[in-house]
Amino acid sequence: MSIEDAVGALDGVETVDVAIADATVRVTFDDERVELASIKRTIEEQGYAVFG
């Protein structure tokens, strides 16, 4: 699954923007419904390392 699909599927995530060149992911989310740790974890479960 792509990062966009996986993170986008989380409840509370509004937008997911993956910039391949920078190797960054920008996510806007409602922090009442989903927390940063979960988003990071989701990305990691796809097999990527998350820094910062």
Binding site: S38, T42, E44, A49, F51
Partner: protein, 710 residues
């Protein structure tokens, strides 16, 4: 539980419990690893998790199988049986030989020997029945037949005054059990030795937490822990580099002598060795989940499924048993035809069965193997399984892995040509090379050390990947590298040095031009050094009629040069690590019996696949586990010695079988004409046993072939 959010929640809840230092939840495996101190309460943890809506139960985890313990258990059981059997059989023998031939004596013998035949001998009777159901016979059948024939006949003889053979039955069982005990002990010690070699890996890791850095025992690391690995330390467990930069020596996994650069985002593996930089690594897999553990497991599984070669003794027995039974029937038949009573005819037939069973049979193989293995160990060769002795003699082709097996796997400075004296040349060149941090640089630095040249400081050192290195030493601008590097920097290259470079490369070496202040002053070359015994080893194998082949990932030119230097006619170059086993399979498909010598993780499949896997003991742990034979010194000459010793041992086993069967078979005619008495049976048993043991001891005098100069 399928979502990341749930995992995070569970981790958080567990982390808040009393006594929990850290927690990690693995989504894929639906497992949670928790590091606790003594104050933690498992039930409280369970309750906390179930409050979230999940059930959780403790899991025992994989305990590493310890084959050594199992073999030792088997050995002890056999020894117990032996002592019991011996304790009961001895008085039986005494009564039979020196006691009066009266009813009480015979009854006493019967009572003493019954447990021996029925209890100690039970392991043989059970297998004999199983074999019979398949219509086949093996050593157990022969033992069972002989001992039961003697025993049951003797019971019958109690009533009519014929000879009793209770002691015969007892001695048969006792000696065979002794053989089993010796075999089990040999298996146990070989297995234990190999397992000791497997004690790799770090024992503790530096874990960074909010409270600072702490040393944590390796068993307590869980995924998610941030480990700090200093230069020279072993990577504690599989993980992801989060910060820092270094290179890691992964030779134990890949056999590659060059370290791999690691940056944030790269994966590193447990038990590999960190080089000069500092790394912060987040653990991703621990214990039996690591790459190394997985491969060891795979190797053990593959080993377990290797079809065991039917032992020589069993093969002989499978033919002998029907022959003997036939002879017994013929004897009975002839007696009947000659007009004797049924009683007498049966007596003669049974006598044939009794004498035919060779009690030294159980000692024939184990004694030779024990002495052979012991001699091997003295020479630095560990035979892991008895079957090895029987296979080794059939090997007609040996495949050698190159790096680490035929060569040392380490670069060394092999050539140096320059306009100026060696010391002056190295004085300026070596510091720059040494500062490059590259193994080639280390080789040059070592070479300088050996030449007695002290290393000055080098400044502004720049290492240019694949091309060379530049720097400043003692005010001079020094450059070492390929032609392209010098050309790019406007350094003139005299024709003689270009020619020299070409010559060295044709020899399969890695060559560089070197010079300073705008001039090329000379040429150096490094090469993977061939091990001292490689040539003799190959010659030794050829002398024994065994073909040799070398496989390597190196390019064709280098490989062929090195092959020619060592004397190996056939070279398979540019072989990918995963393809070595395929090479072995290819040869086997052509009908060859193939031996493989290797030391790296990528050699493990080939070691397993081959008919005889010879692992270099100083190589990777997994190769050692995969091999059938372990060469404790990285000396290639041990390969032909291992094969020769195994063949000699097999020869001794065959001789032993002759001795074991010989006396008893010679006595069959005596039994057939009805002249058998316990004394004759005892004599046959004693003579055969002694002969077998003495013959096996001759192996102690085995010497490797003189031409090997070992």
């Amino acid at each position: 539980m399928t979502c990341a959010t749930c995992a995070v929640r569970i981790e958080r809840v567990l982390g808040r419990q009393e006594g929990v230092e850290a927690a990690n939840v693995n989504l894929a495996g639906a497992t949670a690893l928790v590091r606790v101190d003594d104050s933690a309460d498992i039930d409280a943890l369970r309750t906390a998790v179930s409050k979230l809506g999940y059930s959780i139960s403790p899991h025992a985890g994989d305990q590493p199988r310890d084959m050594a313990e199992q073999y030792q258990g088997d050995a002890m059981a056999q020894w117990r049986l032996f002592w019991v059997a011996a304790a009961l059989t001895l008085p039986t023998m005494l009564l039979s030989m020196f006691g009066p031939d009266e009813t009480w004596s015979r009854l006493a013998q019967a009572l003493l020997v019954t447990p021996v035949v029925l209890w100690c001998g039970w392991q043989f009777h059970r297998v004999a029945v199983r074999q019979a159901r398949h219509g086949s016979a093996n050593m157990d059948t022969l033992i069972s037949l002989g001992s039961l024939a003697a025993y049951l006949y003797s019971i019958w003889a109690l009533s009519n005054g014929a000879h009793v053979f209770f002691e015969t039955a007892g001695v048969i069982i006792t000696l065979i059990v002794l053989g089993r005990a010796l075999e089990a002990r040999a298996k146990g010690s070989a297995s234990a030795a190999v397992h000791r070699l497997l004690e790799l890996g770090a024992t503790e890791a530096r874990v960074r937490s909010a409270e600072g850095d702490q040393m944590v025992p390796i068993g307590k690391i869980i995924p998610g822990d941030l480990m700090v690995v200093l230069p020279g330390e072993k990577i504690p467990t599989d993980g992801l580099v989060m910060a820092g930069a270094s290179s890691v020596d992964e030779a134990m996994l890949t056999g590659e002598s060059l370290p791999i650069d690691k940056r944030p985002g790269d994966t590193v593996f447990g038990a590999t060795i960190n080089q000069a930089g500092r790394l912060e690594v987040r653990a991703t897999a621990v214990g039996s989940d690591t790459v190394l553990a997985g491969i060891v497991r795979m190797v053990e599984q593959a080993q377990g499924s290797k079809a065991p070669i039917q032992r020589l003794a069993d093969r002989v027995a499978s033919i002998f048993v029907p022959v003997v039974m036939l002879l017994a029937l013929i004897t009975t038949g002839v007696w009947l035809v000659l007009g004797n009573t049924v009683d007498q005819a049966v007596q003669a037939g049974v006598a044939v069965l009794i004498i035919a069973c060779p009690c030294a049979l159980g000692l024939a193989t184990p004694t030779a193997i024990m002495v052979g293995s012991g001699r091997g160990a003295e020479l630095g060769i560990l035979f892991k399984r008895a079957e090895v002795f029987e296979t080794a003699g059939h090997v007609d082709t040996v495949v050698f892995d190159k790096t680490g097996t035929l060569t040392t796997g380490a670069m060394s400075l092999t050539d140096l040509h320059s306009d100026v004296p060696v010391e002056e040349f190295l004085r300026l060149i070596a510091p720059v090379e040494a500062a490059s941090g590259h193994p080639i640089g280390m080789a040059v630095a070592l070479g300088a050390d050996e030449a007695g040249v002290d290393l000055l400081d080098a400044e502004r050192v720049e290492s240019l990947a694949g091309l060379g290195v530049i720097g400043v030493v003692d005010g001079h601008e020094v450059i070492v590298g390929k032609e392209k590097l010098l050309a790019d920097r406007g350094v003139a290259i005299p024709e003689k040095w270009s020619a020299e470079m070409g010559r060295l490369e044709d020899e399969g070496k890695t060559a560089f031009l070197a010079g300073w202040d705008g001039e090329a002053t000379g040429v150096i070359a490094v090469s993977d050094s061939v091990r001292e015994g490689a040539m003799a080893a190959v010659a030794g194998l050829h002398a024994g009629g065994i073909e040799t082949i070398m496989v390597t990932g190196d390019n064709r030119r280098t490989a062929e040069r090195i092959g020619a230097r060592i004397g190996i006619p056939t070279v398979r170059a540019e072989v990918l690590p995963g393809e070595k086993a395929d090479q072995v399979a290819l040869l086997q498909a052509g009908g060859r019996v193939v031996g493989f010598v290797g030391d790296g993780l990528n050699d493990a499949p080939a070691l397993i696949r081959s008919d005889l896997g010879l692992a270099i003991g100083t190589g990777t742990a997994v190769a050692v586990e995969a091999g059938d034979v372990v060469l404790l010194n990285p000396d290639p000459r041990l390969a032909p010695v291992a094969i020769d010793l195994a063949e000699t041992t097999l020869g001794t086993i065959r001789q032993n079988l002759v001795w074991a069967f010989g006396y008893n078979t010679a006595a069959i005619p005596i039994a057939a004409v009805g002249l058998l008495d316990p004394m004759i049976a005892a004599a046959a048993m004693a003579l055969s046993s002694v002969s077998v043991v003495l013959n096996a001891l001759r192996l102690r005098r085995y010497r490797p072939d003189a031409s090997l100069n070992l």
